[in-house]
Amino acid sequence: MAPPSTRRPGFSRRAQYGLFLGYVVAVAGVLFALMLLTLSVIDPRGFGALKGAALDATSPVSSAGRGIVNFFGGIGSTVGNYFNAGAQNDDLKRQLAATRRKIVEARATELENQRLKAMLKLSETVGDEVTVTRVVGSSFDSSRRLATLSVGSGAGVAPGQPVRSPEGLIGRVIETGRWASRVLLVSDGASSVPVRLVRDGTPAIAQGLGDGSIDLKTLEVGKNPFRRGDILVTSGVGGVYPPNVPVAVVVRVERERTTARPLADPATVDFAMVLRPFQPVADQPLSQATSEALQGAAQ
């Protein structure tokens, strides 16, 4: 069927001008949108209030439906477990044996650790959490990996705070509404987390790949230090993520490329803890005494 010719509204001058004006508005609108986009890219927190309000408005849908989705997701995995019972049994036995060995090693390390800490009189700062919440949604139709939490600035959540679950690091808060907030997951392409290898402490950067996996980059060139099954924890460098939070497990090692999988899968974690940034002091201006001392040193 030939489409009706709507682009030529006949001999009416008024209709012709109206159509022309429509195009002028559309092109101006595109330019305006590109300008907004530039602003959003330069300053991602620029429209924070507006986007926070939108987050709040849609959060009831996300929060209420989450239980239902968990229920149905649970059915799927239960059926899968039934079919894979034999293979799973073997796997679990093997894992149990490996874990027993690890526990013995860990006990020895813990003892040594306590002894060393006592020697150094170090005190660890733990329990620095802002709030505990649930992951209720995610961006499932774009190349970005963002998740939604069911708490916002009302509970003290602010952009920049790290989020973890008992299993491991989830990401960090980038936008907050009053009752909901948005988290940049560790698997997002814009997320890079300073990590170290648990086995020997090799530092690395965990860069998200956008498809639920993480690329590991070592800071030094040479032999690839990673092996399949290696666990990575945050190193605390950079001052956002607290140290020793589990991040990922290495799943594939090619010559130069190491791929890891996040330990905390946002689709299945029950609880997410929002933590305070590890060293917020590093961002603040120098104190009076320090700047005076520095000036004195310069003179």
Partner: protein, 171 residues
């Protein structure tokens, strides 16, 4: 139901339905983004865009190109894209469809699907590029499953939109 309006209220209801159904279905499709689905890979198509181009291809006279601006603004806010992303991409798509309408005299199911495929590919690539500028260094190949799924779900969405259109214009 009678085909002749019995009262002023019938007329008002029919005209409201005729005008609002396309807009409301597009907004509803955008709201699908707030569903509590948590995934690790991009797989689910962007239904708001699919519904939008399905309406546009089915009824070229329905919307002028600038109608995509407020709809895109709403989608940006709901989905958490950088503000302006859907506004720009959707309006550019509408302008491109207007150009296509000027050049191509005959349209059928397959050409519509072809134009929709081009639009979907452009949408994915542009969104990925905006993410890249915003610091998300991802491989474009991770979007392939989603792209293919979008291409094959377009006929389905178009069929649903066609049904809605028949209901919208029914008396």
């Amino acid at each position: 139901m009678s085909r002749i309006a019995g009262s002023e209220r019938d007329v008002a209801w029919w005209s409201a339905r005729r005008q609002l159904v396309p807009v409301l279905t597009t907004l509803a499709a955008a709201l699908l983004d707030s569903l509590p689905i948590v995934t690790q890979t991009p797989l689910v198509p962007d239904f708001a865009f699919l519904v939008l181009i399905a309406w546009r291809l089915l009824r070229p006279e329905l919307w002028q190109a600038y109608a995509a601006l407020p709809l895109g603004f709403f989608a940006d806010l709901v989905a958490g894209h950088p503000l302006g992303q859907s506004m720009a991409i959707w309006t550019i798509t509408f302008l491109a469809f207007d150009l296509i309408d000027l050049r191509v005299g005959w349209r059928d199911y397959w050409t519509d699907w072809l134009f929709a495929s081009l639009a979907i590919a452009f949408h994915s690539a542009a969104a990925w590029y905006i993410g890249w500028i915003g610091g998300s260094r991802t491989d474009f190949m991770i979007l392939m499953p989603q792209l293919v799924l979008s291409l094959f779900s377009f006929p389905l969405v178009a069929r649903i939109v066609l049904g809605l259109d028949r209901w919208r214009l029914a008396r």
